[in-house]
Symmetry: C2
Subunit: 202 residues, 2 copies
């Protein structure tokens, strides 16, 4: 039996593009498309304009490489933030995660990935030069390396440290330990060792 057209080309196109959104696959894209169509006025139309708006206005911050609708971004231009501390992250998603923790009101720097020679990602592919320039500026007192606790993340952290050797800046990293709410039984040995080594007075 030949493939038959069961819905308009516009609907097929919508499903096809939705399937490329992370979190949605071909099957859930179909379900999502149907839901959007049924909620045309409440969801489909507003989402279409929200996307068009975002596409039109999104910019990459020339200071820290954050995504925002202004350049420099709202974080870089917020006068209430402490500009003597910069948290270095791999990705904007990490910045968002740290902001949700709402522990520190400081600035950020987004590397845009990690060093990965096998994938051909070298220092020039990351925003490391702009980071060094920010430190050379002299205002920054502390750099918190909040890269992932992976081999690539740690390699990148070491490379950044080596680039800043001669500069007067304190370089720190996130503590390793037991996640809050975590059960010891399910943790790997590396985490448990680190948690034991960095134990604190109760």
């Amino acid at each position: 039996m030949s493939t038959k057209r069961i819905a308009g080309a516009e609907i097929e196109k919508l499903i096809q593009l939705l399937a490329k959104v992370p979190g949605l696959g071909p099957r859930s894209a179909r379900r999502a498309a149907l839901h959007l169509i049924k909620k045309k006025d409440q969801l489909l139309t507003p989402l279409a304009s929200a996307m068009a708006d975002a596409a039109e206005k999104v910019q990459i911050c020339s200071v820290c490489a954050n995504v925002d609708t202004q350049n420099p971004c709202s974080i870089c231009t917020d006068p209430r933030r402490d500009s003597t501390t910069i948290i270095v992250v791999e990705d904007v998603a990490d910045l968002w995660a740290l902001e949700r923790a709402a522990e520190m009101s400081v600035r950020y720097h987004i590397l845009g990935g990690t060093l990965s020679p096998l994938d051909g990602v070298g220092p020039d592919d990351l925003n490391i030069k702009t980071l060094v320039d920010r430190i050379v500026g002299g205002e920054v007192k502390e750099l918190i390396l909040a890269v992932n606790a992976t081999v690539e993340g740690q390699t990148t952290a070491h490379y950044i440290t080596s680039q800043l050797e001669d500069l007067d800046v304190k370089i720190t990293r996130l503590a390793h330990g037991v996640p809050v709410g975590g059960e010891l039984d399910y943790l790997d040995e590396g985490t448990l060792s680190a948690a034991l080594r960095s134990r604190t007075i109760f």
Copy 2:
């Protein structure tokens, strides 16, 4: 610490709306938004126009209640389809699922739900009157009730049957049995009983 603005209002709005798409939650909406922003030209902009297009062109078929960009829909107007058989489904998603099976090239009728007195869904809230009208027209020889095998689905099927008692139309339902690829061990007793009762010669 007060909530700080970490991304433009347009980005926040996009995340908020994406979180309402089935399959995405608040956390995955954020991840999806970031991915869309990063793939602005390949994904965000095309998806925005696909949504706007769909919102503008989608219509509900006045014959069968299918969603399409034309009315009557492509299925109702396809001359190659057998118009003497109608498959009755609860939802457009069921029509799409049956079309993927590509077993029969026939017409459909979408009820738009099932009878559910507790939720206040009565016969007038479903597309039952239009179904009866199609049968009264006389062309239809067989009606396949492809409603879900739930209490509500079966109640709806019985109600439809009662409405068509005096009309000359064969009413059938989908077979119950072991799903293809299914393991007996994981099946419920009802399905196994039905599969035994409807056993066929090997």
